[in-house]
């Protein structure tokens, strides 16, 4: 037997005062299995010890919310008896060490979170962030991550409908892989993880347990150093085929009435799943580890409890339903074992070869887990830049546009999403590359829109504004496809919370997210936190990823961003002040990296968005695209490239110079296309609502023109926009 000491506890990622607390609580020294259990439950990834205090502030309620944070995933009402279960989760650390398996198991894990609740997954999304394209690791990491996401999702047969890919040198040593899944469930048949009743059988189903992924959650709670390659064994290995079987088997079992509660074995495997179920039900749990199906020989209780082998579930069944359930898992060729029972002891008791190998009161692991009120500092709003006329003098609109369309953060990502099956299930009505992905609710007139957004540059410059901005951007994406925004899920990727600056970024981003989601009635229903995205003292930019979900009651009214008809008018909804600080233009063309991000005015944001939705519901607009990174000219270029149609821009009114006007990243704006016959009607409605709008131009020909200032063929800008990533990946 291994002797447990403070040194060993520290090797498990615990702090010395945490170890002391364990000994105090137990009134003895834990044995090795118990130490393993504590370290798995008390690490940052599982305990949220640095973030919990602040996450409490999130806006999580709303009339559409059926289940907020705290379950396997959030649930929202989409009318009739339908509900959408969704969540986003990070798999950053493993994906950097082993990109294919890391990303693949990230997708597998989030899908399990969703079908654990009784929902059939209907769409996958992802947000992936890589280091600078020039960094030696970026290309291979990108290739591996994309292959991993595709390899898993494609095999399961769930379409990957939207996503986001960003490059920034702050991710050179810590890439981000955030995966999101949406599932469809009957709102009267949702399954939860809370166990109930004593002496109920505890069932293990799915794959066998191996030695892979031991301490995965602890690894995800640590910063990287030179020895990360040694951590490869802590990365789990995915088997999407087994997951597909597990999905079908679980849904088949869920159609009956034998399940009391169900929980997937994700981070910290059997440890966290069993403890969470018991803790939520205020019960005890007894497990005989000898009965756990193992893939490898001579696995110890410690290894069995900490393994993060994939594609496994823990179920508390009604008594006497074991045979009925077993039949289903036999049909799908999956392991099924009764491994324990619920008890009234309020302890977790582990047995191995008829010997008790661990006994810990469950509230020591859950409620008594440490919570930290970490120190943090505010980020001041940076000073605005005063760009001089000289800086614009030698610039040409067309050259700037071409350069921006080839910027890695703007350029077309077809190379990526061609590798994801985005049409399986036969309900994808808006594919990747639009404002949001849209899938029909099978067999109904409804559709669900979803997107993922992040704006690390803005969050880095001013976390509070950045936090608000990401939520607003997500909201705009929903509006742009004609969906009513319902709720969001957030994946909060940050650096080391033990550093005041990083902690401050977290606190203020959460504050921004909360403020915006409250104002827009766009609540957070699920999410996760990923801290310690830091390598050798260098942390990532604060990167909250927001996954948004919206509802279209009539899918035939969905909007797209392709320009539709020659002679139609284009309006910009929302005011353009020409905010260049932190824009792609400032960074890429002017090489200016300082300054504040564009301001968020929540009042205008809401008014503008509701007004666009209103116009759409009255069938007055043909096309909609929100204006984001790269400003107006980038937005209309993308609309032109998608449709092959050009735009004749009207001469500029007002004082804003043309670079500021066309590349400024002011918020709360949309470009809409209007038929001439609806023009007056639209203008009147916008004036009545006091919405600011500019008449931007007309859909015309095959080029973008602006008096003598700009004449550029859509074909030409398309080439650069489409080729950057493809060429980058070939080289």
């Amino acid at each position: 037997m291994v002797e447990v000491s403070e040194k060993l506890a520290i090797e498990h990622g615990l702090k010395s005062d945490e170890y002391k607390k364990i000994c105090d609580l137990l009134k003895r020294t834990p044995n090795i299995t118990e130490l393993g259990v504590f370290s798995a439950m008390w690490n940052e990834h599982c305990s949220y010890k640095s973030s919990r205090k602040h996450l409490k502030k999130l806006h999580t309620k709303g009339e559409k919310v059926i289940q907020g944070p705290g379950e396997n995933a959030g649930v929202v009402d989409i009318e009739d008896d339908d509900a959408i279960v969704f969540k986003i989760e990070s798999h950053n650390h493993p994906s950097f060490i082993e990109p294919y398996q890391g990303a693949a198991t990230g997708v597998g894990g989030i899908m399990r979170d969703v079908f654990t609740m009784g929902a059939r997954p209907i769409a996958n999304l992802n947000s992936i962030h890589f280091g600078s394209p020039d960094h030696e690791k970026t290309r291979n990491l990108l290739r591996g991550v994309v292959k991993g996401i595709g390899g898993y999702g494609n095999c399961i047969g769930v379409p990957t409908i939207a996503g986001q890919t960003c490059f920034d040198e702050s991710y050179n040593g810590n890439i981000l892989v955030n995966a999101m899944t949406l599932g469809l469930v009957n709102k009267n048949k949702i399954f939860y993880s809370k166990a109930a009743g004593i002496n109920k059988p505890v069932i293990y189903v799915g794959s066998k347990t191996g030695r892979d992924g031991i301490h995965g959650a602890s690894m995800a709670s640590a910063i990287f150093d030179d020895k990360i390659e040694e951590k490869k064994p802590t990365v789990q290995v995915g088997d999407p085929f087994t997951e597909k079987l597990l999905l079908e088997a679980c849904l088949e079992l869920m159609a009956g009435k034998s399940i009391i509660s169900i929980q997937d074995m994700g981070a910290a495997g059997l440890t966290s799943s069993s403890i969470e179920m018991a803790s939520k039900g205020n019960l005890g749990i007894e497990i005989d580890l000898t009965k756990v199906p193992c893939r490898e020989e001579n696995m110890t209780p410690y290894e069995i409890m900490l393994s993060e082998s994939q594609e496994r579930m823990l179920i508390v069944l009604e008594e006497g339903k074991e045979n009925e359930a077993k039949k289903i898992f036999d049909k799908w060729n999956l392991d099924f074992a009764v491994i324990g029972k619920t008890t009234n002891s309020k302890n977790i008791e582990l047995f191995f070869n008829n010997e008790k190998v661990a006994e810990i009161p469950i509230d020591f692991l859950a409620e008594n887990a440490p919570i930290y009120d970490r120190k943090w500092i505010k980020t001041k709003l940076p000073k605005q830049n005063n760009f001089s006329k000289n800086q614009f003098k030698s610039l040409k609109l067309s050259e700037c546009l071409n350069k921006i369309l080839m910027d890695p953060n703007i350029a077309d990502k077809e190379w990526i999403w061609d590798q994801y099956d985005h049409t399986v299930m036969g309900d994808t009505i808006q594919k990747p590359g639009g404002n949001a992905g849209v899938v029909r609710v099978h067999g109904t007139n409804k559709a669900v829109a979803a997107s993922v957004d992040s704006s690390a540059t803005y969050c880095h410059a001013h976390p509070l504004t950045g936090g608000k901005q990401v939520v607003c951007e997500s909201w705009r994406n929903m509006i742009s496809v004609g969906a009513k925004p319902i709720a969001i899920t957030n994946c909060l990727n940050f650096g080391n919370p033990e550093k005041e600056k990083n902690m401050g970024e977290f606190v203020e981003c959460v504050e921004g997210i909360t403020e915006a989601s409250k104002y827009l009635n766009y609540p957070v229903v699920s999410g996760n936190v990923s801290f310690y995205n830091e390598t050798k003292d260098k942390g990532i930019k604060p990167t909250p990823s927001i996954g948004g979900v919206g509802l279209l009651t009539d899918y035939k009214k969905m909007m797209t961003m392709e320009l539709k008809n020659e002679g139609n008018y284009l309006f910009v909804i929302g005011k353009t002040e020409g905010h260049l600080d932190q824009s792609i233009f400032a960074r890429n063309i002017l090489s200016e990296f300082n300054g504040p991000p564009p301001e968020i005015n929540l009042f205008n944001e809401k008014q503008n968005g509701m007004s666009v939705l209103n116009l759409k519901n009255k069938n007055l607009i043909e096309t909609c695209h929100d204006v984001s990174l790269g400003g107006i000219l980038t937005a209309i270029s993308k609309m032109g490239i998608k449709s092959g149609k050009g735009v004749k821009l009207f001469p500029l009114q007002g004082l804003v110079n043309k670079f500021e006007y066309f590349f400024g990243e002011d918020q709360g704006r949309y470009i809409i296309e209007i038929k001439p016959k609806n023009l007056e009607n639209v203008e009147n409605m916008l004036k009545k609502d006091s919405i600011h709008f500019d008449k931007l131009g007309l859909v015309e020909g095959n080029k973008i023109t602006l008096e003598n200032d700009l004449k550029i063929f859509i074909e030409d800008i398309k080439e650069g926009y489409k080729k950057w990533l493809k060429e980058y990946m070939v080289n």
């Binding site: 292959k147 595709g150 390899g151 494609n154 095999c155 399961i156 047969g157 088997d239 999407p240 085929f241 087994t242 597909k244 079987l245 799908w332 060729n333 999403w417 061609d418 590798q419 994801y420 099956d421 985005h422 049409t423 399986v424 299930m425 036969g426 309900d427 994808t428 009505i429 594919k431 029909r440 899918y555 035939k556 969905m558």
Partner: protein, 226 residues
């Protein structure tokens, strides 16, 4: 008309196929791989997906499954058997169709719309389709068709090439070859043309709100020709 869609563990286009068949008037039933017998059918479909995880080799384990004996018997007696994507891979593994499907030339999974040219209309699958070029959808990692030069000569001589990848105008040259398939082959028949295997998914193109509608032409013809 009665159709049967076989479900293997890992099939994932079975529901999409069921939806499409029913939409165009088939009375469709789903058949589990472990069943020995297939109910009376006019058409059997092996759907897309990753049967048995596509472990070992795509379609190989399904090619040895319990139900497949009945499929072979049905095909050999002249019954119509259609394999889409993984179904095509399974048909080559059983030997019902010649050749093999290798990994795509550029080693990536490809999901996108493609055009295919109909090469032979003297069969129930394409007889009444008026168009020469269809826009369909592919989603596969192993669709790179290959066979020996003797086999190629034989399938060409017998008019067994069903559809080839091409552009909108019908040029089926190397430039319009998404996956490296020999002669741009996207689908082939057996000698008697009662068995068709093809990589593109007509069931994903049956609605103007999806990727397109040319899949409807395929199913409309099928129900009419049977």
């Amino acid at each position: 008309m009665k159709s049967s869609v076989i479900i293997f563990p890992g099939s994932n286009c079975d529901r999409d196929m069921d939806v499409a068949l029913k939409k165009f008037g088939f009375e469709n039933q789903m058949v589990w791989h472990n069943d020995a017998e297939i109910p009376k059918s006019d058409l059997i479909i092996l759907p897309g997906g990753f049967s048995y995880g596509d472990y070992l080799r795509c379609g190989s384990i399904a090619g040895k499954s319990k139900i497949i004996k009945s499929v072979i018997k049905f095909a050999n007696s002249g019954g119509l058997v259609l394999g889409i994507c993984n179904g095509f891979q399974i048909l080559t593994e059983t030997g019902l169709l010649p050749g093999i499907l290798q990994q795509n030339k550029y080693l990536n999974f490809i999901c996108k719309n493609v055009f295919v040219k109909i090469k032979n209309k003297e069969n129930k699958y394409f007889k009444k389709i008026k168009k020469e070029v269809l826009e369909l959808h592919i989603a596969h990692n192993e669709g790179n068709y290959f066979c020996s030069s003797d086999e190629l000569k034989s399938i060409e001589d017998n008019g067994q090439i069903a559809v080839t990848y091409c552009d909108q105008a019908g040029n089926d040259d190397e430039k319009n070859n998404p996956n490296g398939a020999l002669k741009n082959i996207a689908g082939i028949f057996n000698k008697d043309k009662n068995i068709l295997g093809m990589m593109p998914h007509p069931e994903r193109m049956i609605d103007p709100f999806l990727s397109g509608e040319d899949g409807s032409l395929f199913f409309e013809n099928l129900i009419e020709s049977l």
